[in-house]
């Protein structure tokens, strides 16, 4: 069975079947049905003629549109970003470009300042982390070490050092070796630290004898051992070890 709206659109009241009439009469009177149906027909018959030029204009637009090269997706994107009818600054592409530029510059600035500040913060945090007693101790130690290991600013050899360096003090038996001394000493290797021996008399006499053996990196040169005896003076051992 049809709904009332379908009946109104298709049948007059007199054309309705009994069941259809019963259906309609549950909702409205016969007069109301006829009036409504008639009013709807009147409204539908109302013809407001559309301007015929509208069609010709649209057809011309359509033909022009088709005559222009088919817009690819890329062209459409370009048109969307840079529509000709909009002012330059209002074109989405231009606005996007400006926004991107601002973001890039702003981002770079933020990163730069962020890195610097984080480094500074890190240093400050590290310094803050060091307990004060450690820094105080460090300072004290530094002061003490400055005092105990004072650098020898006076580099001129003392008289004792000059005496120790004199060739006469170092008896060199092998004159051939002596002639190659520069070369030999450039390549000399102390083969045994124990080769340096302290004579007993170091503590009982005023002289100090020390034995040593050297072997050149040049295998043509023979291994040589020797000893040196010098007058015992404070700091002489340091001098000797430094010399050899």
């Amino acid at each position: 069975m049809m709904n009332i709206d379908e009946l109104i659109l298709t049948k007059k009241f007199s054309e309705l079947s009994i069941s259809e009439k019963e259906l309609v009469l549950t909702e409205m009177s016969e007069e109301a049905y006829n009036s409504l149906q008639y009013a709807i027909q009147i409204k539908r018959k109302e013809v407001i003629v559309l301007n015929p030029d509208l069609k010709s204009g649209l057809m011309a637009d359509f033909k022009n549109r088709q005559a222009s090269p088919k817009t690819s997706a890329w062209n459409r994107l370009l048109y969307f970003l840079f529509p000709a009818e909009k002012q330059f600054v209002f074109r989405p592409g231009v606005q996007l470009a400006f926004a991107s530029l601002v973001l890039i510059l702003g981002g770079a600035w933020l990163v730069q300042s962020g890195v610097l500040s984080s480094k500074n913060e890190l240093v400050v945090a590290k310094v803050e982390e060091i307990p004060s007693y450690i820094t105080e101790n460090s300072l004290k130690k530094a002061e003490a070490s400055e005092k105990s290991i004072a650098p020898d600013t006076n580099l001129t050899p003392s008289s004792l050092e000059q005496k120790a360096l004199e060739p006469s003090i170092l008896p060199i038996e092998n004159k051939e070796l002596a002639s190659d001394a520069d070369k030999a000493f450039d390549e000399v290797t102390i083969i045994d630290a124990e080769a340096v021996e302290m004579e007993d008399q170091i503590f009982s006499t005023n002289t100090l004898s020390a034995g040593f053996a050297v072997r050149s990196m040049d295998k043509d040169l023979p291994e040589s051992s020797s000893s040196v005896t010098v007058a015992d003076e404070p700091g002489l051992l340091d001098l000797l070890s430094a010399t050899y």
């Binding site: 409504l36 009013a39 009147i42 109302e46 204009g57 649209l58 057809m59």
Partner: protein, 196 residues
Amino acid sequence: MGVFRSNYTQKSDENLMELIINGDDRAFGELYDRYAQAMFNYFHRMLWKDREKAEDFVHDLFTKIVNRPDMFDVKKKFKTWFYSIANNMCKNEYKKQQVRSNTYNGLDESYNVRSSQRGADQKADDQLISEEIDKALSQLEEKHKQVFELRYFDQLSMKEIADIIEISEGTVKSRLFYATKKLASELEDLKVLIGG
């Protein structure tokens, strides 16, 4: 030529749209012939019987097809899609009007102006009936009026109306039932004019 013409008239709206997407201007002409007047009536009704505005809207509506025929999904029903666009255009216009003035229902104003303009000059019964139904419609809520007009004046099915205004079919039925009953009672007195 006549053969081609008849071919176009027999094509479905959806087939015509496929042809339009491929640049067929005759298909566009055929589609225009099918819908232009109906859409004009629709806009005329919806936009406070403003003829010029209705024509502009028809132009804009078809321009959408001219510019972007590919917006239409050929798998969908053209009529529903087309009315949906028209309906949205009207909604946007209502919003614009609402911004311009707080009087949302411009129909009342328009109707009053028109009825006063017409006055005693238009005494034909049909015109009176037409005005009466307009008056009765204007007393309905917009949602009821819209469903009533789409069903009786545009002769759209319940399903199509539901799709266009994006409500359920059941809601369409209930709104239509209410509007029909209300208008029937309002127009009952017209029996004298129609000889009922």
